[in-house]
């Protein structure tokens, strides 16, 4: 028996997905008719199952391939940086617990309260060719680096926006490791580094994986950050999708890209499910 929430998800998320995928396969009739009426450069099917024309076109497009590469690269690099920073802050807080650690944690969470659009703009202004950083350098007669409108700028802004959630997750996961288990490791002869890698991090494994997957999925589908801080080309697929959908009026190609991003996000989600499964198995459930 389907429960009401399930029905709701099926009606408002599942059904539109089916429609969109059907459209990407060249089914332009039925509920897709209105979109298809004004869309340009469509692949229309004669077969009952559809055509892979739109997929072939997008997947062989060098611009798409380059942007897919940039998207994956920005996601992997930003998620890695975010995780490392979040874990350093979380461990620092766990192992020292002084006022400096608490202050750092609070500071790391501040970006959560700043809308992404404002944050992106601020990052751009800070690192732009005529931005704050270069102005300060120029005062000293030096040539500062330019990160505005570069992929590096996108990574910096992604890290900035994703850090608060990762810090909250990692800090709570690391804080949840009981003192006695850390004491026991030290009593057994483990120094701080060994205690961290053999006891604290494995025990905080699930929250860390959750932080990583949520951060990764957030970044891979992001629009605002690369739109503001990145270059026009190469850019991330979120920006491409918006461009193909609105600026170029090619919704079919846009949907194909969405399917590819969705597939990549599903891979990340698998890691999340695996981690949860592993933890429930560990607990003896």
């Amino acid at each position: 028996m389907a429960s009401p929430p399930l029905l709701l998800v099926a009606a408002f998320t599942g059904f539109p997905i089916v429609l969109a995928v059907a459209y990407s396969l060249g089914h332009t009739g039925g509920l897709n008719q209105t979109t298809a009426l004004i869309a340009q450069h469509q692949h229309i099917t004669d077969e009952w199952w559809g055509t892979l024309g739109a997929y072939r076109e997008v997947l062989t497009n060098p611009r798409f391939r380059r942007d897919l590469g940039v998207t994956v690269m920005v996601t992997v690099v930003s998620t890695s940086i975010v995780l490392v920073l979040a874990l350093i802050i979380a461990l620092y807080l766990r192992l020292t617990g002084g006022w400096a650690a608490k202050l750092l944690t609070v500071l790391a969470i501040v970006p959560q309260f700043i809308p992404v659009v404002i944050a992106s703009w601020s990052v751009l202004m800070f690192y732009a060719p005529d931005g704050f950083l270069r102005s300060v350098f120029a005062q000293a007669g030096l040539e500062g680096p330019t990160f505005g409108y570069t992929v590096s700028g996108v990574v910096i802004a992604q890290v900035w926006c994703s850090l608060p959630f990762a810090v909250l997750m990692c800090a709570s996961g690391v804080q949840a490791v009981p003192d006695a288990l850390i004491d026991a490791a030290r009593d057994a002869g483990a120094g701080l580094v060994r205690t961290t890698f053999s006891v604290i991090l494995p025990m905080a494994f699930v929250p860390i994986v959750i932080a990583a997957t949520f951060t990764g999925i957030g970044i891979i589908g992001s629009f605002t950050v690369p739109y503001f801080t990145g270059p026009n080309a190469p850019t991330m697929l979120g920006v491409d999708m918006a461009n193909y959908f609105t600026a170029y009026n090619m919704p079919q190609q846009s949907i194909v890209m969405a399917v590819v991003v969705f597939g990549a996000a599903s891979l990340i989600a698998l890691a999340y499910i695996w981690a949860n499964f592993r933890s429930s198995k560990e607990a003896g459930a």
Partner: protein
């Protein structure tokens, strides 16, 4: 110091008298004037104690008396403000816990849930970079000792409380520590299991001859397991004695009332009289209050509480003093007239025993 885990002849249980005969020998554990303040409060106050090699000493006291703080200073989790911790003649006061020759069994066992029983036990040996074959052999041997070989590959979450307790003990023993520290090791077990596990621990400790310090607030546990008991109150040791001595010859009023029960009466209570004596407290154990239908001081029974193998009888002497007596066998009824005879009575002034 190494302890051959599987050779009972090589590490025979030391004779309790022999242990106490020479408490100043260099082996074992010595605490010299340990002092610790936390948050402006004195937790441990100039505490000195010598635990002879192979001896089991209990730190017994109420919550907040500083016994756990003392144990954590021995383990190295806390550094004393003053004083020294000396293990086998070596001053370890300023060493971090990972470099001390002590091993601790934690109150909640503190087993790592992501490791199997065998991996939990092997962890200290891996840290010590012992060869793999030696690790496997020692882990098997110690798991056999605590009778857990069949749970080698189980995770701690899947075994019972008693088995977790033994795993924690195995993890400490496998390190062949110079000093074994037990932090309320039985408090999470049910009553029956507690008695069995405490016998197991005592038996293993004696067989291996490990110098051991145990913290507990349970006097039964302390009495049953220890060579000597150190009763702590307010950060100080009130008395260190063998269990029997502690019970029969308490040196302070606190020890008399904390270990076992005691009737306390202000003034001087003798077997035949009660006279006012300012600042003097008389104390008599309930089993030294004997009820007799024929002789003794006249009294009336005011309450009778059966406890199974004995009955707690509260009587009111005609002089107006209430006393509790433990009666085995037939007990009187409420409102019965009885005669009361007193055995040994102790006298305390300002908490110290005076007679």
């Amino acid at each position: 110091m190494t302890i051959p885990l599987n050779d009972p002849t090589a590490a025979a249980a030391p004779h309790p008298d022999a242990v106490q005969a020479d408490p100043m020998q260099a082996d074992g554990l010595r605490l010299d004037g340990l002092h610790k303040e936390l948050g402006g409060r004195t937790i441990v106050d100039d505490l000195s104690l010598h635990v002879a090699a192979g001896e089991l000493v209990c730190l017994l006291g109420p919550s907040g008396c500083g016994k756990t703080t003392t144990l954590r200073m021995i383990a190295g989790f806390l550094e004393p403000d003053r004083g020294a911790v000396v293990v086998s003649g070596r001053d370890v006061t300023h060493l971090p816990p990972e470099r001390r020759p002590s091993a601790m069994v934690f109150q909640n066992y503190a087993l790592w849930p992501h490791m199997t029983v065998a991996k939990n036990v092997a962890f200290p040996l891996k840290l010590a970079k012992r060869p793999r074959s030696e690790v496997n052999e020692r882990v098997d041997r110690v798991l056999q000792l605590v009778n857990l070989l069949h749970h080698k590959d189980s995770r701690p979450g899947r075994i019972s409380g008693g088995e977790q307790q033994r795993t924690a003990l195995a993890r400490a023993l496998v390190q062949e520590p110079a000093v074994l520290l037990l932090d309320e090791p039985l408090s999470n077990l049910d009553a029956k299991l507690r008695v069995r596990v405490r016998e197991d621990i005592r038996e293993i400790q004696q067989r291996l001859g490990i110098t051991t310090v145990m913290v507990t607030h349970d006097q039964d546990e302390a009495m049953a397991m220890s060579d000597r008991v150190a009763v702590m109150n307010d950060g100080r040791i009130e008395q260190v004695s063998a269990p029997r001595e502690l019970y029969s010859n308490p040196r302070t009023e606190f020890v008399a009332s904390f270990v076992g029960s005691v009737n306390k009466v202000p003034g001087r209570l003798t077997p035949s009289t009660l006279s006012a004596d300012d600042g003097l407290t008389s104390a008599v154990r309930p089993e030294s209050v004997r009820l007799d239908a024929d002789g003794g001081r006249p009294a009336r029974v005011t309450r009778v509480t059966p406890h199974g193998h004995f009955t707690e009888v509260r009587v009111s002497l005609d002089e107006g003093v209430d006393l509790v007596s433990y009666v085995t066998g037939a007990a009187p009824e409420v409102d019965d007239r009885v005669g009361v005879e007193l055995g040994e009575v102790w006298y305390f002034r300002e908490g110290e025993r005076v007679e």
